[in-house]
């Protein structure tokens, strides 16, 4: 195992690996059929939403039940801008900044409260959001919603709509993932982690828990806005039902199932959000929610840290027999690879029973 780890951390190999990922991402839209592309695009949309939730909940430990409100706000801003013929760049900026400002305003008040009180405040967001979207019908189209096909492929590209939309999601979503990864792995990430584990310790080290909570919440709402923009680009329709409270809970479940405080976990969470309703529909359309509930429980029992921890769990199971599989199985998260002697740390669950990447790196 040490050799495998050593091999993989060499810079050129990592570059090749990155290059392969980038090329695969660029080629994927051209290869698959329309339905697969649309599904991948949808997964991207919700992976970004889950990523935002992960920043505030997974990394900073503040319970937020309002993420879908920011997604909905982003989608509405996009829908409004696109139907009124704004420049598309302006639409994008507005769809990120407006939810971000809303998030900042809410966070300034909510972050003063501790623990579950924040959860209570954030519950209010989708609950207020739905009637608000119905009431402001001049901007939101009321309960009939807005549809906008602004994201159809321009003629010069020669692409199908689904391919163009998937490229949009890959480029914008990929950028958000990269930026977020850098954020949570740098000094802000360390500050978030300390605020998550103990606010008093954070304060004693000169890190203001209030400020970092506000920051995390604002970043989460900015990312939610991006997700809303992509939502409109892919689904091309939004209505008050987009931001019902139930979807916020599903986003939360997706985050936990994918893996809290994990970048890959956010992607898996997006996949869960989109694919599981489809699978359960195939099994029995009359029992979708029951099956989803059963799957949620099963995942939490088998993989309490989320699906992102699966390679680690498998590696642990296989270790006595075959020592080298551990490194290979972890190719997708090279920076989160377990180092020898760290296993003891990993196996100790952190707050809430969710082991985090951060712990490994601490």
């Amino acid at each position: 195992m040490p050799t495998a780890v050593g091999l993989f951390s060499r810079a050129p190999l990592r570059w090749v690996f990155t290059a392969i990922v980038v090329i695969v991402l660029l080629v994927v839209p051209l290869v698959f059929d329309e339905y697969t592309n649309q599904n991948l695009a949808r997964i991207g949309v919700f992976a970004v939403a889950v990523l935002g939730l992960n920043v505030v909940m997974g990394y900073t430990g503040q319970v937020s039940l309002g993420q879908i409100f920011f997604v909905g706000a982003g989608a509405y801003v996009t829908g409004y801008g696109a139907t009124h013929g704004w420049n598309i760049v302006l639409v994008f900026v507005a769809s990120v900044v407006i939810p971000g400002v809303m998030g900042l305003v809410v966070a300034l008040a909510a972050a003063r409260l501790g623990g579950l009180a924040i959860a209570m405040v954030t519950i209010a967001l989708p609950i207020v959001g739905v009637p608000l979207a119905k009431r402001l019908s001049d901007y939101t189209g009321g309960s009939q919603g807005i549809s906008s096909a602004f994201s159809n492929a321009p003629a010069w590209t020669g692409l199908y709509n689904d391919q163009w939309q998937l490229y949009l999601v890959i480029v914008i979503g990929g950028a958000v993932f990269l930026l977020t990864r850098n954020l949570v792995r740098g000094k802000y990430g360390r500050a978030f982690a300390i605020v998550k584990s103990n606010e008093a310790v954070a304060a004693s080290m000169g890190i203001s828990p209030y400020r970092y909570k506000v920051l995390a919440f604002t970043v989460a709402s900015l990312i939610g806005g991006v997700s809303g923009f992509l939502y409109m680009a892919v689904i091309q329709f939004t209505s008050p039902e987009t931001m019902t409270f139930g979807h916020s809970i599903t986003l939360l479940a997706s985050m936990v199932i994918g893996g809290a405080a994990s970048i890959v976990g956010s992607l898996l969470g997006g996949a869960y959000y989109v694919l599981v309703p489809q699978w359960t529909n195939h099994i029995d359309p009359n029992m979708t929610e029951l099956l989803q509930g059963a799957l949620l429980l099963l995942t939490l029992f088998v993989l309490p840290g989320g699906v992102a921890t699966l390679p680690r769990v498998i590696a642990r199971k296989l270790r006595p027999k075959n020592r080298s599989t551990g490194g290979a199985g972890r190719q997708e998260t090279p920076s989160a690879r377990p180092a020898p002697g760290r296993e003891a740390v990993e196996e100790t669950p952190s707050v809430g029973g969710i082991p985090t990447e951060r712990q490994e790196q601490a």
Binding site: E34, S147, Y231, T242
Partner: protein, 417 residues
């Protein structure tokens, strides 16, 4: 050394890209013409035709949603058991139904549509305005019929804006207009108070009602108030309206507890007008009994389907066949609690009419056949209503009859009083 490495790296990337682009070139070539949504004859063979439904089968609207599938399954279950539908092109086909759950989420509805569009001939019967709107534009672009869907949104009935769409159930305006006409033709001098929900639902009813009383000098609207769908009480509005002592109360309300509270409050204030309620908040058991509606000179609503619960139809041939089909082919237990079961059954009957008329097994021919049905009396339809798809701007069923509460159920009336 370093440069060599970089060169090798560049080479590797170039190779991979070349392979990838070649692969991509082969990938999409095959289905270029159909674009994935399928062609004119997707979902139809010489022996079967497949219909797709996306509707809420879980969540808060699961009850009516389940009905939107059960009714059509019951209808075509019986038709298939008798051999199938004889199409206009001479072939006999069985009808298959693929239903998916969207939980009243527009995003899931679109996803279900994307999943179904490559294998179904048409989308039908699904419940919900936002969920149907979510894939309306995609269905137009793909030329997939989205017909006889269960929403009162008039955009689906506009053949210019929505060439591949057609709604099934009467719009809110149709319902309001029917009651307005009844008042206009009563010949009595009437004053009307209006309380409506402040959204497209309430506006639709009021707009239709005003159209119904247009030009009638005997009907006068004396006061018009609104409430929000999120309000928990309408006592203030009822008190204001009671002070007008209007003869008729037009209450366009979709919230069950508020509808009950409004009926009770007006009685407390000793204001007892003739009272109108929309079809979805007119249930005798759930609303009128707790609201003590028998205190009023008359509580009116509109309908176009025979209610299986009503004693008047207990022995009706349509109703007994409908119930047995529903139990046998749709595995639906008990008497349907929602009218959507009956509506979906009628959707099945209307589709069968279109199938019998279509001369080619194409979506185009189907749309033409579907838009040429007039005065078709589907099973379970009340006397005085019919399916008529030839009028642009109107859903397949735009005729409703006004009914009056008789203490146990509703019976059709043609005048006020």
């Amino acid at each position: 050394m370093n440069r060599k490495k970089n060169l090798r790296l560049t080479g590797a990337i170039a190779l991979i890209s070349a392979v990838a682009v070649t692969l991509a070139g082969c990938g999409r070539g095959g289905d270029g013409s159909s674009g994935g949504a399928g062609g004119e004859s997707t979902g139809i063979t010489d022996s079967t035709v497949t219909l797709g439904i996306t509707t809420p089968l879980s969540g808060a609207t699961a009850g009516p949603g389940t009905c939107t599938v059960a009714g059509i399954k019951a209808y075509f279950g019986a038709v298939n058991a008798a051999g199938g539908v004889k199409f206009g092109d001479g072939k006999t086909r069985k009808v298959e139904i693929k239903a998916l759950d969207d939980a009243y989420d527009p995003q899931k509805a679109k996803s279900n549509y994307d999943q179904l569009k490559g294998s179904v001939f048409a989308m039908t019967s699904g419940l919900g305005t936002p969920t149907n709107r979510a894939y309306r534009e995609a269905a137009i672009a793909d030329k997939v019929p989205q017909v006889l869907v269960q929403t009162g949104d008039p955009i689906f009935d506009d053949a210019k804006q929505s060439p591949y769409q057609l709604g099934f159930v009467p719009s809110y305006a149709n319902e309001g207009e029917a009651f307005g006409k009844l008042l206009a033709s009563s010949g009595k001098d009437l004053t009307v108070a209006i309380l409506s929900q402040n959204d497209d639902y309430g506006e639709g009813y009021v707009e239709g009602f005003k159209k119904g009383i247009e030009g009638a000098s005997n009907v006068k609207v004396v006061k018009e108030l609104t409430y929000e769908a999120t309000d928990t009480s309408v006592d203030a509005q009822i008190t204001q309206l009671a002070s007008t002592h209007a003869d008729v109360m037009f209450n366009a309300m979709s919230i069950t507890p508020l509808a009950i509270a409004a009926l009770q409050k007006a009685q407390q204030l000793n204001w007892k007008p003739s009272w109108f309620l929309p079809s979805n908040t007119s249930s005798p058991e759930a609303i009128l009994k707790p609201g003590k509606a028998s205190a009023y000179p008359g509580v009116y609503s509109v309908s176009f389907a025979k209610a299986p619960q009503s004693p008047a139809f207990a022995k009706d041939a349509d109703v007994t066949k409908f119930l047995s089909d529903l139990h046998k082919y749709a595995k639906y237990k008990g008497t349907p609690a929602f009218p959507h079961c009956m509506w979906s059954y009628m959707v099945g009957a209307t589709l069968e009419q279109a199938f019998q008329k279509m001369t080619d097994p194409t979506r185009d021919s189907f749309m033409k056949a579907l838009r040429s049905i007039s005065d078709f009396k589907a099973p379970l339809m009340l006397e005085g209503t019919s399916v008529n798809t030839t009028m642009d701007g109107q859903p397949a069923v735009s005729s409703v009859v006004v009914q009056k509460y008789n203490g146990t159920g509703y019976s059709t009336v043609d005048s006020l009083g």
